[in-house]
């Protein structure tokens, strides 16, 4: 039984490796590389530079070098090694390799036609608009023929990695973005090379880029020479797991940058992160978040902006994904970056049954958010009321409701504008706030300390804090 199983895997492996090479390049230079790799020749020397027209783009460059460089047996070895060794989280993850292949074909068959989003097009590529380089049909074609795939995109297409955005290589190559990660990830340099699909043989070219790393870790220089050999050995799976950890940590930072936010917002719009399980949220879309920024603490959770609560993803395959790869910041920062999203979109039709919100003005902002976007899934009409034969269970009953506060929201959302209320209460009649003009009470109390700042906050809440929130998002760009 076991033997049969193993054999079937092997067959599958060879199936994905061999046709991939032959079908990608009917005219054959890639096949030639398979042989050339052993002698350490660089793939680009052989004149396939015009393969995609864009050798200048690192993304393609590296992905090309990867296929050509990865001879089929090395790839096999890699897969075997990864299968053998458990990865970061659980031993079940070793099943991912075959799954990876499966998923790839899934994408090529259905994914690209169904919707404009294609997981294989890095969004930053779209953002910098180089339409000549990759047009959707091109990509579809190259995908179906099993074209070279970067480590990043294959990582993101793994089963259970659906929440991940593809971090742009530009982002990774900027050393500033990696500050401090070296101490958190073992085999840092190798992992980074793996993520960027840089061949160990290419080290000479990248020397100046990675100089620092070399200096910091003393024995690294010596190892550099042997790395070519070292990498094909069993520590490959160690590197693979380090690479996943490193990618995750970079990902945590990336999704808080502008490009990352953009990518995640597209995934959000398409509902890639699933919907809130809570009945009264009417399928509001959720966002992946971590409960800790340190890896190894907890798995990824889903934050529902509609009820401001976090939920366990429904599918158990996400229970192998570290929450730190998304981080605590992303969920809230997303809301502040895109304040105009209709958070309750999926449930729009049921909303009409509810009493109209007193906050009539569509664009009214409270505390830096549009009033309509502050927990739209909470408040009157959206709280579950336990009843027995139609009678509400009383609060004073032993089993009476005790948690309704968690789903409550003031009927008049402006009640939450604490700064304004405070200013009103303190009522310096002198100046700026219109709100104060409404306040007829004469105030005798002396202004306590710190009032000036709060007054400012109140002012901001009235006119400019929405933009301030947007500003925040922009500042976060790294």
């Amino acid at each position: 039984m076991l033997q049969i199983h193993i054999r079937s895997i092997e067959i599958e492996t060879s199936w994905t490796t061999t046709p991939r090479h032959s079908s990608t390049c009917p005219n054959g230079p890639f096949i030639a590389h398979d042989g050339a790799h052993g002698s350490g020749k660089r793939p680009h020397d052989n004149g396939i530079i015009d393969y995609h027209n864009i050798t200048t783009a690192t993304w393609n460059q590296s992905s090309e070098s990867r296929t050509s460089a990865e001879s089929s047996d090395r790839r096999k070895q890699k897969q075997k090694a990864a299968r053998k060794l458990g990865r970061i989280f659980s031993s079940t993850e070793s099943d991912h390799k075959p799954a990876r292949k499966k998923r790839r074909t899934d994408i090529t068959e259905s994914g690209s036609d169904d919707y404009p989003y294609h997981p294989r097009i890095p969004d930053w590529l779209r953002l910098i608009s180089r339409p000549k380089v990759i047009t959707p049909p091109d990509v579809t074609m190259s995908t179906s023929s099993g074209s070279p795939e970067s480590w990043i995109s294959s990582f993101c297409s793994l089963l259970g990695h659906e929440y991940f955005a593809e971090v742009s290589e530009d982002f990774i190559e900027d050393d500033f973005n990696l500050t401090g990660l070296q101490s958190q990830v073992s085999l840092y340099k190798e992992a980074l090379e793996m993520i960027l699909d840089v061949d160990p043989e290419d080290d000479e070219d990248d020397e100046d880029e990675e100089d620092e790393d070399e200096e910091e870790s003393g024995g690294d220089g010596m190892r550099g020479g042997q790395r070519g050999h070292a990498r094909v050995h069993s520590d490959l799976s160690l590197i693979e797991s380090s690479a996943e950890m490193l990618y995750g940590l970079i990902h945590q930072r990336f999704i808080c940058s502008r490009a990352g936010m953009q990518q995640m917002s597209e995934k959000y719009e398409l509902g890639h992160f699933g919907v809130c399980p809570r009945t009264n949220c009417s399928m509001a879309r959720t966002l992946p978040v971590g409960l800790s920024d340190t890896p190894g603490m907890d798995t990824v959770k889903l934050f529902c902006p509609s009820c401001l609560d976090v939920y366990v993803p429904p599918n158990s395959r996400f229970q192998t994904v570290d929450g730190a790869f998304f981080g605590r910041t992303f969920g809230a920062l997303f809301l502040m970056t895109f304040p105009e999203y209709d958070l309750s979109k999926a449930g729009a039709e049921t909303l009409s049954n509810l009493p109209p919100r007193p906050a009539g003005d569509e664009n009214m902002t409270v505390n830096g958010m549009y009033a309509r976007n502050i927990a739209p899934g909470l408040g009157k009409g959206r709280i579950y009321q336990p009843k027995i034969y139609g009678f509400k269970v009383a609060e004073i009953a032993r089993s009476g409701p005790r948690m309704q506060w968690l789903r409550e929201k003031p009927d008049d959302i402006t009640e939450l504008d604490e700064a304004r209320l405070y200013a009103q209460e303190q009522g310096d009649s002198e100046d700026e706030d219109e709100a104060m003009n409404l306040n007829t009470r004469t105030v005798t109390r002396k202004r306590p300390q710190g009032n000036a700042r709060l007054r400012q906050a109140a002012k901001q809440a009235q006119n400019g804090s929405h933009t301030a929130a947007e500003g925040n998002g922009a500042e976060s760009e790294l």
């Binding site: 809570r278 340190t294 959770k301 401001l308 809301l335 609060e395 089993s399 968690l406 409550e408």
Partner: protein, 273 residues
């Protein structure tokens, strides 16, 4: 499965009810006692609700022996399932039914609460209406007192009337010892450790509501059900708890709340990462 059905009544050993509750998608149902089903009083009014009532009842009680074509069988089969569901809603609020459902609840047969801070508390099925074909079944978490959609689509399409709106709450009336302790833990969205202002304001407001309720209950000397050991609360929530306590201590000093509002804008979340 359908093959199995057709066999079940001819002279297959299995009972229809056994088959029904063990078939896929019907995991939420418990088995209704034979004598409950045969007592006509328990079925009052259902003949108006279920088509081919008598045949359906015969099928459910395994005395069905009508020769008919497949189409008819299909219809009767459907009615039988509907009938079983409606009787089920009545049965599970009886003493025996409650006990059976309690067993299933303890085994988490209805799933676990997806809310992170409920720590996989078992769920109970509830309907949002007692009339059939109005709303599908939902799952009620006694810890956060909210309802959730079942994970799998085959459960999500089941009629909520088969469980009824009252069942879950009757269960806790009958077994008050099972009421879980409540917790004030909650998620607070943060950006680089700073609370998000709009959400934090709402959280404070809700916290005040909660404290009001607890004070109300304390005055009436009713146990609020919250765990009192505040120190058990996770790091993440510590800060909020402190704030809440502040709120309680200085309840009458109206400024305290606003002062609190001011500080949250500035202070980074205590737990630096």
């Amino acid at each position: 499965m359908e093959d199995f059905v057709s066999e079940s009544d001819s002279d297959y050993t299995s009972y229809w009810r056994d088959w029904f509750i063990s078939s896929r998608g019907n995991e939420y149902f418990c088995e209704i006692d034979e004598d409950y089903l045969t007592d006509r009083f328990n079925l009052t009014g259902l003949n108006a609700e279920v088509s081919y009532y008598q045949y359906a009842l015969d099928l459910v009680t395994d005395v069905f022996d009508l020769d008919c074509d497949d189409e008819m069988r299909e219809t009767i089969e459907k009615s039988a399932r509907h009938l079983y569901g409606l009787v089920h809603a009545r049965y599970i609020v009886t003493t025996r039914g409650l006990a059976k459902m309690l067993e299933k609840y303890k085994k988490s047969d209805f799933g676990k609460c997806p809310r992170v801070l409920c720590h996989s508390h078992p769920l109970l099925p509830v309907g949002l209406s007692d009339c059939p074909n109005v709303r599908p079944v939902k799952l009620y978490c006694a810890r956060c007192e909210d309802t959730y959609n079942p994970k799998s689509s085959r459960h999500a399409s089941m009629d909520g009337a088969y469980f009824g709106t009252s069942f879950a709450h009757i269960l806790f009336q009958v077994y008050p010892a099972l009421v879980p302790t409540k917790s004030a833990d909650r998620y607070v969205p943060r950006v680089y450790g700073f609370k998000m202002h709009a959400a934090a304001a709402l959280v404070r407001w809700q916290g005040n509501k909660r404290d009001d309720m607890r004070r109300r209950l304390r005055k009436m000397e009713i146990e609020s059900g919250f765990k009192d050991g505040e120190d058990e609360i996770d790091d993440e929530e510590d800060e909020d708890e402190e704030e809440d306590e502040e709120g309680v201590n200085e309840e009458e000093a109206g400024m305290a709340d606003y002062g609190g509002a001011g500080t949250t804008v500035q202070a980074p979340g205590g737990d630096e990462v």
